[in-house]
């Protein structure tokens, strides 16, 4: 999680090259936080006679338990601790010491089989070292760091356009993918602008502005587009779902027709048909499936409805929701015989028709009638630009925009077209595309300053909404009231309560928990016949709703690990084997058995951490370490291919037996023991998160032992053990969320912030909203510093 400076250094020539690349990401902060408590203890103890010293507390353990292997001669694992028998190194080589402390505390070192130091020894050892650091840290001046100007990423752009002009524009479809850093795609440093993207911005500005004003007239005659299975222009997702990608060229109403060939038995029940746009359900209706009684050569019926569709490329899906009947068929051939079944084979769009839907955007922009003269034009542009730039605007901002209106007039166009042109300009301006924060002395790394109320407002809205500040927030900031007592808290509460805070689930949780990868995973239909878009969407919904619940209801973070409830609809409940849930709607379900609990039993997570054909204990173990405990395993050493499971899976014996064989190699074992223990702890869930007792013909052995020696027999027991690690989990989610909130990687100097938040959460029982509030109030979120002109490092 911590940006590993050395990693960058190592490739920047000179002195750097003699630093050895540290394969292990910087140790999470767990050591330091505990230190705070233990350090106090140490200080109290210090009143006593024996003030802890290096020679008393550290040196003996080091020599006795470490140096036997990590000495000049053996340098086991190319680690030599001999030079560390020296108090000075505690501060001088802090990163190295942090690894030592972590290994010792977690019980990873000394390795199994060797005599372990007593709890007291370990305690004294860590307390001393960490209190040393404490003391050192006290003298460092707090540093808020600095965030690089952030370009709006695709989602932020989409949302900002939505809030600014009420135009439904899907940047995700149009713009190149945003690169991500630290697992998030809102990191200032990696959000670059390529010529292609610039091109896209220009074109988008043209379409959006004209759509906002409803400028381009609808075609005289509606156009018809048909997508039919005959012409292979619809994709069959499964027996009950067809999908087609269709470009809607105008905002407007469209006549949608769904073709439904076939019929079912006389007594067949009606089934519910749904119609989705880009995964969002936009129409649902009951459909008769029993013979119509009318005489058809081939039984066939149609469903018609008229609906408003926004311009853009969309993926449309039509399908039967929770249709059990199709499962009764063996071969597809039967399922698609119109004598036996009723199914879908066609989607047709006719349109556009003028819409009754009032053009909200137009109303928002044209606050007065532009033809009444220059004053109104100025008024319109001022109002719009203030919101687009998320700050009050000056004459200097507006004058050139008025110029565009004049220009259009010269071209013989209307004032309105001129305004449209001005909007185009606004939408490609750096003030709109970037979130740029000013600083009194930008080149002075020591000068720390508050971000302005306006910048703070944007930080807040883009953190919680992935979108622009709304009028209330902007007004508060303009009035300089945002930082008055209680206001910020109130705003956080308000923003969280607003639906737009769903963005936090989609973008923060979606990336933190890698749920977004649900779109790219492709479980093997042979192995997992139940997999399909419906199940995928249900999986996504479960985690999303669960996250939102913990957030909005301000539940404790512990529920992520071991929540005794979840959110299910019939399909997902069936998948889980949980009875009594019917219908497509999601609802809260209390968990009665201990098969499930917390997010680690969510099908979404279990699926994205599997291979298409099978589970992967390694990936899952890595997943837990990385995303839950904030201690990602080191990458395998150079040239060593990752421990190969597919080979194992391909050969005899259970995956576990196979991998344990493979793991006789010490190099691999050192890390895989940690990873695989957690991974195998989840083996009861198959590649799509279904509960199972056997893997193929082999019984599943979930049991494992944590580094601290506690062992478990079932996933539930493992979850309970994970609860012991709340400090680690809290630290992990705090690090992730702070990264996401700031849009930059965390640095050493951010550790205090994370520690402080961790302590506060622990003291208050881990309520989620406290985490959000603490982040908003934190030093790095409230302030920024300048930056020394950096000399470009050459390799």
């Amino acid at each position: 999680m911590w940006s590993d400076r050395r990693r960058n250094v190592t490739s920047t020539g000179g002195a750097a090259l003699n630093t050895i690349v540290v394969y292990m990401p910087i140790v999470s902060l767990r050591s330091v936080a505990k230190a705070v408590l233990s350090a106090c203890a140490a200080l109290l103890a210090a009143q006593g006679p024996a003030k802890p010293t290096f020679d008393h507390s550290v040196q003996p353990l080091l020599t006795k338990s470490c140096l036997s292997c990590h000495n000049d001669r053996l340098q086991s694992g190319s680690v030599n601790l001999a030079p560390f028998v020296n108090p000075a190194t505690v501060l001088a080589n802090r990163e190295d010491w942090e690894k030592v402390v972590q290994k010792v505390r977690s019980g990873e070192m000394p390795p199994k089989g060797l005599p372990r130091p007593s709890i007291e020894q370990i305690g004294a050892f860590t307390v001393f070292i960490e209190s040393e650091w404490e003391r050192a840290d006290k003298n460092i001046k707090p540093d808020p760091g600095r965030v690089t100007a952030r370009r709006l990423n695709r989602i932020e752009y989409t949302n900002t356009i939505r809030d600014l002009l009420s135009v439904d524009f899907r940047a995700e479809k149009d713009f190149p993918t945003d690169d991500s850093g630290y697992g998030f795609d809102n990191i200032g440093d990696v959000l670059t602008i390529s010529p292609i993207l610039m091109q896209k911005y220009l074109e988008a500005a043209e379409t959006i502005s004209s759509r906002a004003l409803g400028a381009d007239p609808l075609p005289a005659k509606p156009v018809e587009f048909e997508y039919h299975s005959k012409t292979k222009s619809v994709r069959r997702l499964d027996r009950s779902n067809i999908e087609a990608t269709h470009r809607v060229d105008w905002d407007g109403e469209y006549e949608v027709t769904i073709g439904l060939p076939g019929e079912r038995a006389k007594d067949a029940l009606p089934v519910e048909m749904g119609f989705w746009m880009d995964g969002k359900l936009i129409d649902r209706r009951m459909v008769e499936t029993k013979p119509s009684g009318l005489v058809y050569f081939n039984p066939y019926s149609e469903e018609h409805f008229r609906i408003f569709l926004p311009e853009g490329d969309h993926v449309f899906r039509a399908g039967f929701i929770g249709d059990e009947f199709v499962k009764t068929f063996g071969a597809d051939k039967e399922a698609f015989s119109d004598k036996r079944n009723k199914f879908l084979n066609m989607i047709k769009f006719i349109g556009p028709y003028p819409t009754k839907v009032e053009r909200v955007g137009r109303k928002r922009v044209l606050v007065c009638d532009p033809n009444t003269g220059a004053a109104c034009v100025t008024k319109i542009l001022t109002a719009l630009t203030r919101r687009a730039y998320r700050r009050p605007v000056t004459r200097a901002d507006i004058a050139p925009l008025e110029g565009f209106v004049t220009m259009a007039r010269k071209e013989g166009q209307t004032v309105e077209q001129g305004i449209q042109l001005a909007i185009q300009a606004v939408l490609v301006s750096p003030h709109f595309l970037f979130r740029i924060e000013k600083h009194p002395s930008p080149n002075d790394p020591l000068r720390v300053a508050k971000v302005s109320d306006l910048e703070l407002a944007s930080r807040l809205s883009y953190f919680l909404w992935s979108g622009m500040p709304d009028d209330e927030l902007l007004a508060l900031a303009e009035g300089g009231k945002l930082r008055s007592p209680g206001v910020l808290e109130a705003q956080v509460k308000r923003l969280l309560a607003d639906n737009r805070s769903a963005a936090l689930a989609d973008n923060f949780a979606g990336q933190w928990l890698e749920i977004r990868n649900l779109d790219s995973v492709k479980p093997d239909p042979q192995k997992f016949p139940e997999w399909g878009p419906e199940l995928r969407d249900a999986m996504r919904a479960e985690t999303r709703l669960f996250f939102e619940n913990v957030l909005r209801e301000n539940r404790p973070l512990t529920e992520f690990i071991n929540g005794r409830y979840t959110f299910l609809n019939e399909m997902l409940a069936k998948h889980y084997g949980i009875p009594g849930v019917s219908g497509p709607d999601f609802r809260r379900v209390e968990l009665t058995t201990d098969q499930r609990g917390g997010i680690l039993s969510h099908a979404s997570i279990l699926t994205v951490s599997s291979y298409p054909t099978r589970t992967s204990p390694v990936i899952r173990g890595k997943y837990v370490l990385q995303n839950m405990l904030g201690a990602p395993p080191p990458a395998p050493p150079p040239d060593v291919p990752p421990l190969d499971e597919s080979a194992a899976a391909a050969s005899v014996g259970s995956l576990r037996q196979q991998m344990e064989k493979h793991r006789t190699n010490a190099v691999c074992a050192s890390c895989h023991n940690r990873m695989d223990t957690l991974g195998f702890g989840l083996e009861n869930y198959d590649g799509t998160g279904k509960w199972r007792a056997k893997d193929g013909k082999f019984d599943i052995d979930v049991s494992g032992t944590m580094p601290n020696g506690k062992s478990f027999q079932t996933p539930a027991e493992m979850r309970t053990l994970l609860l012991d690690q709340m400090p680690e989990f809290t630290r992990c989610i705090t690090e992730k969320m702070l990264t996401y909130a700031l849009g930059r990687g965390l640095e050493r100097y951010d550790r205090r912030t994370v520690e402080a938040i961790g302590k506060k959460l622990a003291a208050n029982g881990y309520p989620f909203q406290l985490l959000v509030n603490e982040i908003v109030q934190s030093l790095p979120f409230q302030m920024r510093r300048g930056e020394a002109p950096k000399q470009v490092a050459q390799r």
């Binding site: 100007a149 991500s180 010529p195 043209e206 185009q424 490609v428 740029i436 977004r516 291979y611 990687g745």
Partner: protein, 448 residues
């Protein structure tokens, strides 16, 4: 007698007293076929990259020199073009190796592939080098509407770390505009179509002229605005905005270009909608458009990232449900190896169709393929062990009578693949002395 010479390139030094042949650099002077000579058919250069290494057992022809008998399995689809293709053996990408940076061969080999430098190991602070295609684009691309085209078939990864500490930027992109700015490939056929032939295909000349005029003044407006802004920003923020400005300048250049030759190019195909579900279909759409771009000389430089390096995409199209990457760690298990081979073949089948198309289009007394250099290859040779030497490299096309196909040329071990790039840049009329880790140019391409 030239033949003898090349033969002796391989056999020289055998035992005592054999004559030494001096290493032959291409006799060809760059000016001779510089693409910039008017009237002369342009030379095109393209790089087609496939991930996770190849099954080398079915790639390397049995013997050096002219192809004899059947082509190896993976190359079979190219049969009808065996005289147009050359297999280059023993080329190495040293900067793909760990070189003290530890794990992450996938991220590294892709970042180093066309840049010839060791990519910086970082999530965020990405740094590689200017890729050879962009050097050409910068120097001679100006005469085309698009100095270069970047194309791909697989959507960039959404979340998570891409390869043990290497930013996804290294595995998502082939072309690097600058040390720090990779160029994302266009994935959506419609996006590529609109990039090449314009959204406003419908606009009439006056409207298009007006649009250009408007766009111009908008760009002027934001440029001015940005300059003002930059004044009171710190170094990094200023650099961000520089990047933004340089993109603006590129667009302005394209506008000019478009104005000069506003002859509308006929796409010869309907505007595609979105990304087809079928891989082969997607491959065809994209390569068809590249073909048009070559034909109409809209661009001469293309990088084509077939799928992301390290991708775990399954290939149900050919009945392979397992991910590509896990498969390549086959540990020499036959069934896994076979699946890898089949994926390699499947890619080659699609590629061959494209080459056939290029070959079918006449151009002067030659064909587009005859005037092209299309490299097909991967950043790893053995995906199982992540080896960076003896990479699979095939160059297709005559490069305007400067490349003689129909054979395998084996170079000395550890020969930097950058040497090949230098020789290709020569043919594009870009003569530079040093590139990446090149130790010189490769010899014999143009000699039978």
């Amino acid at each position: 007698m030239i033949t003898k010479k090349t033969l002796s390139r391989r056999t020289m030094l055998r035992g005592a007293g054999a004559a030494i042949a001096l290493p032959m650099f291409d006799a060809m002077a760059p000016a001779m076929n510089s693409s910039s000579i008017p009237g002369k058919a342009p030379i095109r250069m393209a790089f087609t990259y496939v991930p996770n290494g190849l099954d080398m057992r079915h790639w390397t022809p049995k013997q050096d020199g002219a192809f004899v008998g059947e082509l190896p399995k993976i190359l079979k689809p190219m049969e009808s073009m065996r005289q147009d293709m050359t297999i280059l053996s023993n080329l190495t990408q040293n900067n793909g190796r760990a070189l003290l940076d530890g794990a992450g061969d996938h991220g590294r080999c892709c970042g180093a592939y066309l840049t010839g430098v060791q990519p910086r190991k970082s999530f965020v602070d990405i740094k590689a080098g200017i890729s050879c295609d962009q050097i050409v684009a910068n120097q001679v691309g100006g005469q085309n509407r698009f100095p270069s085209l970047e194309v791909g078939l697989e959507d960039a990864r959404q979340a998570g770390d891409c390869d043990s500490g290497y930013s996804c930027a290294y595995t998502n992109n082939l072309a690097w505009r600058s040390e720090t700015q990779p160029l994302p490939p266009v994935l959506d056929p419609r996006a590529l179509f609109e990039r090449l032939f314009g959204k406003g295909a419908a606009l009439n000349p006056e409207e298009r002229a007006r649009q250009t005029k408007y766009r111009r003044s908008i760009l002027d407006f934001v440029t001015a605005d940005t300059r003002k802004l930059q004044g009171d920003l710190g170094p990094t923020d200023r650099r961000k905005l520089d990047e933004y400005l340089s993109s603006i300048r590129e667009i302005e250049r394209q506008l000019e270009k478009a104005e000069k030759d506003n002859a509308q190019v006929n796409p010869g195909m309907p505007k595609p909608y979105g990304v087809p579900a079928d891989f082969a279909e997607h491959f065809k759409l994209m390569t068809d458009m590249i073909t048009v771009a070559f034909q109409a000389d809209m661009s001469r430089v293309v990088t084509f990232l077939v799928t992301r390096e390290g991708t775990s995409r399954p290939y149900r199209e050919i009945g392979i449900p397992d991910g590509h990457h896990p498969l390549t760690h086959h540990q020499n298990k036959q069934e896994l190896l076979d699946k890898v081979t089949r994926i390699n073949e499947y890619h080659m089948v699609q590629f061959a169709k494209w080459m056939e198309k290029l070959k079918s289009i006449k151009e002067g007394d030659s064909t587009i393929l005859g005037n092209s250099m299309i490299v097909y290859g991967a950043g790893l040779s053995d995906g199982n062990r992540h080896t960076h030497e003896n990479l699979p490299v095939m160059i297709v096309g005559g490069g305007g009578n400067t490349i003689k196909g129909g054979r395998r040329i084996t170079y000395r071990k550890e020969t930097p693949i950058s040497n090949l790039y230098l020789s290709m840049m020569d043919r594009m009329g870009v003569r530079i002395e040093h590139f990446g880790d090149a130790t010189g140019r490769i010899d014999g391409l143009n000699l039978a």
